[in-house]
Symmetry: C2
Subunit: 413 residues, 2 copies
C-alpha cells in the first residue's frame, strides 16, 4: 500500500516552523508496512491544495493530510476538501459535544467560530479528536482513502495511534517492511563503502542498502520488503552480520538508535554512571541523554556552567586556571570533567567548553574552537576541535564529538 502525506500551511513554506509531523507519520506508516511515496508541503491556497490532492490520488492509496483546520479564517482545509469531494456541510453532533466539553472544562464561553468547528463535509466520517476542537475527517472516493487531521502534533499523534493506524491495519493486508540499521563511528562514508563493496554488490533486488552520514557518524540501513516477515528478517540479519563482521571495529551498535542511546545501553549493562559539565553546549548533551526513557539508571545529572562563578562553585574549577588559561582551554575542560566526577560521584563524566559564536572569538581561539574532555577515575582524555562559525552547528557537533570520545574511552576500559 502506498501513502502520501500532505501538510498544509504557509508557516512551513516561509520557514517559520519545522515540519516534524511528517517524519513521525512516515515512521509509523512504515512500521505497519505502508510505504510513503511522497511528502508534500503546500500553502493555504485552495487551487494548490486541490492540485496536491489530485496528484497524490494518482500515486497513492492513502492520503494523510494535516493542518489548516483551526477555527480562524486563514485555515481553509475543510472548505477545500468539501469542494474537492463536491460535498455540502452538516453539523456533527459528536464533534459539537467534544467542542462543548473542552470549553466547559476550561470554563470559557463558546464562540460561534468554535461551534463551526463541528461543521464537516457531509460525506465524510468524523473521528472525534479527544484532545482538541478540530475533528478528524475520513473520506473515501474511488477506492482511495483521505484523512484530514489537525496539525497540532499531539492531537495528530493521538489520532494516528488510536484511530487511523488501527483502522488501516485491520482493513488491509500489508506487506512487511524490515529495516536493520547499523551505527558506525570513526570512519567516513566512502571508506565504509569500499570496505563492504563486495557485500553490497551481492545484495538481492528486494534488499536496499543506504548510507546515512551525520555529524561524524554513518548509519547503514538495510531495507527489505516482502510477504514473509520471518524470512525477511532472517535474510536482512544475515547481511547485517556480514557487514558487521567486515567493519566490526567501527560498529557502535546494530540498532536504529542514536549514539547517546547506544552509550546509555552499554553503560547500563556495565553498571556505570555518567554526569556532564557543559559550558558552550549549554545543556544540549544533558537534553540528548534525558530524551531517552530509563536514562536515570545511568545518568545522574550535571551542571550547565555558563558563568565563571558556576564553573568554580559547582565544578570546583580553580579561579587561577580560568584566569591563566581561559575558560576555553585544555586545563579548564579537564578540571571540569574531573570536577564532575568528584562532585557528582559518577564513574564517567563529559565536559565541554568552547566558543559557540557568533561572537566571543579571538585570533588565538576563533569561534568554533571547542575543548572536550571525557574522564573516568584512571584517565582523562581531552581534545580540541575547530568547528564552524555557526552556533547551533557548533553545539550539535560538540555533542556528537563528546559522545564519540566517551564511547572510545568506554571501549578502552
Amino acid at each position: 500500500m502506498l501513502a502520501e502525506i500532505i501538510t498544509i500551511g504557509d508557516e512551513i513554506l516561509i520557514g517559520q516552523v519545522v515540519d516534524t509531523n511528517s517524519v513521525w507519520m512516515a515512521k509509523q506508516l512504515n512500521l505497519i508496512g505502508v510505504t510513503v511515496k511522497q511528502i508534500t508541503s503546500v500553502s493555504d491556497h485552495e487551487a494548490h491544495i486541490i492540485e496536491a490532492l489530485q496528484q497524490a490520488e494518482k500515486r497513492a492509496d492513502l492520503i494523510l493530510i494535516t493542518g489548516g483546520l483551526g477555527p480562524t479564517k486563514d485555515d481553509i482545509t475543510k472548505l477545500t476538501l468539501a469542494r474537492y469531494f463536491n460535498m455540502g456541510f452538516r453539523r456533527d453532533e459528536q464533534a459539537l459535544k467534544k467542542v462543548q466539553e473542552i470549553f466547559e472544562k476550561y470554563k470559557r464561553p463558546l464562540l460561534d467560530i468554535n461551534i463551526k468547528q463541528a461543521d464537516v463535509p457531509d460525506g465524510c466520517e468524523v473521528i472525534v479528536n479527544q484532545n482538541g476542537t478540530a475533528p478528524c475527517m475520513w473520506f473515501e472516493q474511488n477506492n482511495k482513502i483521505f484523512v484530514s487531521m489537525p496539525g497540532v502534533p499531539f492531537e495528530m499523534m493521538y489520532l494516528m495511534d488510536e484511530e487511523i493506524l488501527p483502522r488501516i491495519k485491520s482493513r488491509f493486508k500489508l506487506p512487511f517492511i524490515v529495516h536493520k540499521t547499523i551505527l558506525t563511528a570513526n570512519i567516513g562514508e566512502s571508506f565504509l563503502a569500499k570496505e563492504i563493496e563486495l557485500i553490497e554488490d551481492h545484495l538481492p533486488e528486494h534488499i536496499k542498502l543506504a548510507y546515512l552520514p551525520k555529524l561524524g557518524q554513518v548509519r547503514l540501513r538495510l531495507s527489505a520488503k516482502g510477504e514473509n516477515e520471518a524470512a525477511l528478517k532472517a535474510e536482512v540479519n544475515s547481511y547485517a552480520r556480514q557487514i558487521i563482521e567486515k567493519v566490526e571495529r567501527f560498529v557502535v551498535v546494530d540498532d536504529d538508535i542514536p549514539l547517546e542511546k547506544a552509550i546509555l545501553n552499554l553503560m547500563l549493562k556495565k553498571g556505570l554512571t555518567l554526569s556532564t559539565a557543559e559550558s558552550c553546549t549549554g545543556g544540549y548533551i544533558a537534553h540528548l541523554i534525558t530524551q531517552h526513557p530509563g536514562c536515570s539508571a545511568v545518568y545522574w545529572g550535571g551542571a550547565v556552567a555558563y558563568a565563571y562563578e558556576l564553573k568554580e562553585s559547582i565544578l570546583g574549577v580553580k579561579e587561577s586556571t580560568l584566569t591563566t588559561y581561559g575558560a576555553v582551554s585544555e586545563q579548564t575542560v579537564v578540571e571540569m570533567a574531573e570536577g564532575a566526577l568528584k562532585h557528582f560521584k559518577t564513574d564517567y563524566a563529559i565536559a565541554v567548553s568552547g566558543i559557540a559564536g557568533p561572537d566571543g572569538g579571538t585570533a588565538d581561539k576563533p569561534v568554533g574552537t571547542v575543548w572536550i574532555a571525557v574522564s573516568h577515575k584512571n584517565k582523562t582524555v581531552a581534545k580540541v576541535f575547530s568547528f564552524s562559525n555557526k552556533r547551533i552547528q557548533n553545539i550539535e557537533r560538540s555533542a556528537a564529538s563528546a559522545f564519540t570520545m566517551l564511547l572510545n574511552l568506554l571501549k578502552e576500559a
Copy 2:
C-alpha cells in the same frame, strides 16, 4: 519569483530523519523575496525524482534540490539529473581538485568512488563545495533554474549563503515580502481571533494574517508582498500596532522570536540574571536558552539534577523533603528554585520536577505530572501541570509552561 524545494532520500520517507534543510532554505528564500510554492520529499527512485522535477518545473522558476549526491550507490540524484536534462558526463577539474584537497587534509587515500564525485552532467555549471566532496550543480533550461546541492546541512547552508542566494539576488528583481510576528501567551487561538475580528476583516488583499498556535502560545503573523518595501513595512506595522493595542495584555513581544528569547531580551534590558534547576526537563530549558547568542549576559547556568544526590548536593534540597514529599512535589520544586537562587546567585530561577514517562507514574502522580516553580528573592510561584503520557511532549510542554510562568513573574515585578 516562485521556488520549489525537492529533497531526495528514502531516509525522510521512512521517518528516519527530520527534514530540517527545507525549512532553513525556505526561510532564506523568503527573506530575499522569493516565494516557496511547494516542498516535496521523494525517494531515491529515478522515475519519481523525474516526475517531481517535471511538476516543479511547471509551477516554479527556481527549483532547489538537496540530497542523493553521496559517493555511494544508493545516491542517484546526479545520474537522474543527467537523464532529465539529456546530458552526458564530464570530469570537472575544480571539483576534482577540491576532492583531492580534502583527502590530503585528512591524509586519507583517494578512492575511485571519491574521484567520481568530480564527474558532473556536461551541461551544468559547477559551484565548488568548500566543505565537502559532492559538488553543487547549477542547471538552466527553458528559463528555469535548477540547483542540486548536497543534503549535509552545513554544506548546503554554506553553498546557499555564499553562492546561491547572492546569485539569485543579483540576477532577478525580486518583490519585497514583509512579515511581522506578534507572540502572545495566556490566551487561546479562538479568543484571540474574536478580539481582533474587526481588524482582521479590514485587512487589504495583499496582507494576510495567520494564527500559529504552539505549546500554549499563539503567534500572529502578518505577511505582505509588494514592490515598495518602506510602504509595505509601514502598512504592516500599522496593522500590527492596532492588533497590539487591542490585545496588549497578552502580547509577549512584537517580533518573530521564541518565548525564551523574548524573556532574555527583557531580562537583559532590566539587568537581571537567571539560573535553572531541572529534573525531568533534563537540560532542555538550559538548551533552549543557550541556543541564543548573547544569552550569557543573563543566563549563568544551572543544574540538571536527575539523581536525588544531585538535588541535595548542588541545589541544597533537604533529604527530608525528598523522602517526605517525593521529588515530584511542590515542596521539592520550591526548594530547587530557591536553592538555585541561593547557590547560583542569580536574580531569578526556574525549577522543574516531574514524571516525563513513559514509566515512573503512580496512581497519585501519573506520568505527565509536572511541578514547576519560578522564583526571585521576594516571591516563589509553584504550579502543578498534568500533561500527556508522551515523554518528549512532556519535556517540551514543561519548558514552555516554565517560560510563561517566568514571564508572568517578570511582568509583576
